[in-house]
Amino acid sequence: MTNPVTVTAPAGTPFIDVTRDFDAPPDAVYRAWSEPELVARWLGPRRYEMVIEEYDVRTGGSWAYAHTAGDEAYGFRGVFHDVTPGESITQTFEFAGAPGHVSLETATFSDLGDNRSRVSIHSVYQSIEARDAMVDSGMEGGMTEGFERLDEVLSA
């Protein structure tokens, strides 16, 4: 498997940490993370369409998008609290289905040389329970994705 993602959710903390390397230079990865047309093409589960309302990646900019599938629509929004172009993005994150549960995420972009980069995302939830609920939702979603991918493999 190329470039596996590492995810940790340490017990007793309200954190989720994600690290992923990419076979692309850091400025390309940062572009894909900050230009709305590119973000719409990868952010979120494959089974949803991504509808971006706004995505203004600069210090103080706002963002809002929805994941949609048929009648389902899941909205998310926040602000970019601090942006150092090419290096880091710190933003708030709120799911419309759980108003008031705002988390804080910082993504940092680093150069591994050889046209490769690393993105590290540190997410902080308002409580351990909120962090656990996020991992739970990922588990359900991930299991669905996992089974769908298993289906694809099995039907090949």
Binding site: A28, V135, G138, M139, G142
Partner: protein
């Protein structure tokens, strides 16, 4: 002629996997499994996050029990549900679902990056 007991074992395993997958083909049941992977709970505790009736949650729990994914014990007045340890091995662990979702997303990002025009060397 094929060894009969081997064929029977395969059918039994296939049926068990079918019922486990079918049991999980429901978002409420997946949420129940997710909650039980963090620790045992009673029907009341499991029903709490959902807008559906406690009876509906009980029916979901029966389906999960029939699929061998959860067991129930009696502790005085309480009848807590437990994620079956063997089933836990077969299913992805608690964090892996989140990891799978993240992986799927980053593979899409890989495809986006591969589609960008060549960067000029720095």
């Amino acid at each position: 002629m094929a060894n009969t007991s081997t064929v029977t074992d395969d059918i039994a395993l296939g049926t068990a996997l079918d019922s486990a997958f079918l049991a999980l083909a429901d978002p409420v049941r997946r949420a129940i499994i997710a909650r039980l992977s963090r620790g045992s709970a009673t029907v009341n505790e499991l029903a709490e996050p959902f807008a559906i009736t406690k009876q509906a949650v009980s029916r979901h729990i029966q389906v999960l029990e029939a699929a061998g994914l959860i067991t129930r014990t009696r502790e005085g007045q309480r009848r807590p549900c437990h994620l079956d340890p063997a089933a836990l091995e077969r299913l992805t662990s608690w964090i892996d679902g989140y990891r799978l979702a993240a992986e799927s997303q980053f593979r899409q990002l890989d495809a986006v990056l591969a589609s960008l025009p060549e960067q000029t060397p720095q």
